[in-house]
Symmetry: D2
Subunit: 179 residues, 4 copies
């Protein structure tokens, strides 16, 4: 696919990336995959399940870096395709504005409540309806489709890190759903 060629220049060797991460905020995109009914109302929220080294698992939304030369739409498509598989058919938003911007800092000192030990990341967050079949790839164990009520439960939040449980709450609120 042409977009991989176009963005190939954006890839960095690990040591290059580490170097950059100490100097500037890194642009991220995050997407909450959802299943909607025919009226557009959210019925299910998709959370990725991943193994942790200690044998437990963690839950996460789709998330990743925007590469040099890559558009936000291309980055969203790339990360969604990687995490949900090539048949997921994500419906990217028509508007460029995210529903929220999450600022991850290496420490809690900034008190944004969102942390990422690797970097200062500025993350543009979107809700993305997904119509097709999802087959989690790579390092993803599974994709769990939860009802909005389940996604808001404390026990689910406990499996998420860096504040992503709160990102899920912000996303559902944007969709009109509050606990």
């Amino acid at each position: 696919m042409s977009s991989s060629t176009e963005t190939a220049q954006g890839w960095l060797r690990p040591e290059e990336l580490d170097d950059v991460r100490d100097r500037v905020p890194i642009v991220y995109v995050e997407a909450l995959p959802v299943r909607v009914d025919h009226l557009g109302a959210v019925e299910r929220v998709g959370l990725l399940l991943r193994h942790r080294p200690d044998g437990t698992f963690s839950r996460a939304v789709v998330s990743g870096r925007v590469l040099y030369g890559e558009t936000i739409r291309e980055a969203l498509w790339r990360h969604l395709s990687k995490d949900l598989g090539p048949e997921a058919l994500p419906q990217l938003p028509t508007h460029p504005a995210p529903f929220t911007v999450v600022e991850y800092f290496p420490d809690d000192g900034r008190r944004s409540g969102f942390t990422d030990p690797r970097q200062h990341a500025v993350s543009l967050a979107y809700i993305v309806p997904v119509d097709g079949e999802c087959s989690p790839a790579q390092d993803t164990l599974d994709l769990a489709w939860l009802s909005p009520g389940e996604a808001l439960m404390e026990t689910v939040a406990a499996d998420m890190s860096g504040g992503q449980d709160r990102l899920v709450r912000l996303a559902l609120a944007h969709a009109g759903i509050a606990p």
Copy 2:
């Protein structure tokens, strides 16, 4: 379909509606149907073509009243299905907030620039990607799919009334497209 039964109570006789229109603002929904590429970017804008009594035609976005007891999502679905046909497969937004609110007044005195001789209408406007086949029904002559550049042309604006040409511009701006 159950929703038609549920909302049946919302229908009013013409004289009832006229009576209400003199007393309160009327809730409307408006939708700009769009064709998008796989990255969600707007490729085409759908405008309805209708005959005018004088033999010319006018262009319009999908627009209609919200009935008593009807949700906004149901009203959007009903008007889109009526104007684009039952196979249009509109993808309603996951969020309840419109990208703009248009206030139509019977006269120019309020200087909103949006007018409707019949009523004071408060209209919630949405961009709606449409995936399926469209077969304009009822009083609609045709549905024209224009490029964003064409939709922004003065000659197209001249065929729209009440300020709807400006609504199209606001919608495209929300999608990141400016003249």
Copy 3:
């Protein structure tokens, strides 16, 4: 002030309003007053306190009808001035789009979770920073400024009716604050 003359035609006698309320959805505006720091971050949330007939009190956001011939901005200003006093200096948003739309139905049958026994109301909701001195007027007992954390507490939610506690949660989420 000229706007009161202009909107005077919008007032209805109680029996007229009852009549209309049975026929069409009624347009409302709702505003969550907030105190912000110099960077725009929400520090305090303003909730109105009102006596209930049974001696207890209820909490509410600023809320009211949009009159015939009145703009949304005028309606917001009128209700904020009435509830917070003439010195509140509310900073109305520059954009017409609300952060959410709340649909109140007379019964729970629509399962929106928002109810209003009097009517079907479509309410455009805004967050409004308030800079000046507030002196609650009319039927309002007091205005309580709560921290976002306090506003999200269950005990506070229990004092709100019709689902307004959830509206507060949706508003705080829009401001980037999740429980």
Copy 4:
């Protein structure tokens, strides 16, 4: 002020910045300063005037980089204070979501229509009402307050570069104002 100490680590030597700019997209904030009436409607748009080496001048919105460790709100405040002076009293938004995201690329190849020869920048754009007195500082010649109609004129657009004239149009559309 403490924030300058906190963000001091974010400053980079020119050669460091050049190095980073070749590797990752750079996070920017942009703000369109506006004067609003008491109902929040935009009355004037503030554009910075700067000398060009050739003796002509250019117009621009407030714009600048987000530093490592700096929040978006802090970056907005810093750039607004620098460009409009310390008495401008900008009213930063209560919500973190920008009204649009602009993607600047070094070449036109990406066809975003927004270009920046120095870098790939991802810019979060906000409308910021400004209440106080503005005294443009540093390299800014002047600050011109234009009516929305003037700001949308072709002759004004011709004085802006990189596509910022279109950013002004997107901002005004968000405020409900279309040409």
